[in-house]
Point group: C2
Chain length 159, copies 2
């Protein structure tokens, strides 16, 4: 076996999970997380199966891989996802510290089958006041206390 990572092999596995998910009643998305040529997690979208709007393939795979390694960091990992991650999943990938993303379909492909990924990207790029979802600031002075407590804490685990 070659030492070279076979990216197409892992992407085909993500696509296989996406295809199987449709038959199983989930959304048409799959994702695989790999470190050192080994699959740490492979998951599909289970939003409607688990009644969890955050249960996209990438988020499920991140949570599963973190359980597998016992750490909140996935530094050194690559994610293969059957579709360009939505803002939620791309944010999760950044927070997890994943090093590299391979994707198949795009947010525009997803929009053509009625998924909101592209709409949510557009919303996030707007200034808060011109988004469709209303956002208002409240009790700013009081809220800052939690950051003061955080700054003052000497034994905190940063991430």
């Amino acid at each position: 076996m070659s030492q070279e990572i076979n990216h197409e092999f892992f992407m085909r596995e993500a696509i296989r999970l996406a295809n199987e998910s449709v038959a199983a009643g989930g959304g048409p998305f799959g994702a695989v997380i790999v470190r050192d040529g080994r699959i740490l997690a492979g998951c599909s979208n289970s939003v409607t199966i688990d009644n969890d709007p955050t249960a996209h393939a990438e988020v499920n795979a991140i949570r599963s891989a973190c359980r597998s390694v016992g750490n909140f960091s996935l530094a050194g990992c690559t994610i293969y996802t059957s579709c360009e991650p939505c803002p939620m999943c791309l944010g999760a990938i950044y927070w997890a510290g994943i090093d590299h993303i391979y994707y198949g379909n795009t947010r525009k492909d997803a929009a053509e089958v009625n998924f909101a990924d592209d709409f949510i990207y557009e919303e996030l790029e707007r200034p808060i006041a011109s988004r469709r979802l209303p956002m208002q600031r409240l009790l700013a002075g009081e809220a800052l206390e939690s950051f003061r407590l955080w700054s003052a804490k000497t034994d905190k685990t940063e991430y």
Copy 2:
């Protein structure tokens, strides 16, 4: 008791959860989800406690509220969060169909205590090719099969 929703009351609860979280070893963030004047879920950030980079206060609260109502939709709900949601959490709020967001601290306040929210917003706004995290498209033709299967499925649950 007035029929009017006391937004400050619910925001203070989110801030209280954030403050308590620091003492408990979690991140300095809290969120409360409310429908019809009733709290469905109140959670804090548990990234380092649960070894889960997706376990932000808002995501935890969305998952908890969805379990509570047995549905992946939180239409009709308001979220009160001690800090402006990061892209992951704001994406999750859109996917959950939450109607309104109240927030205390901003992404700039969060940056001052070393959280990456603002950096991740900046990354998402860049074209894919100029982000710091490399993203490459692969097997586009094969990946489209999962969307074809989805389109052809007549008994699917859309979301």
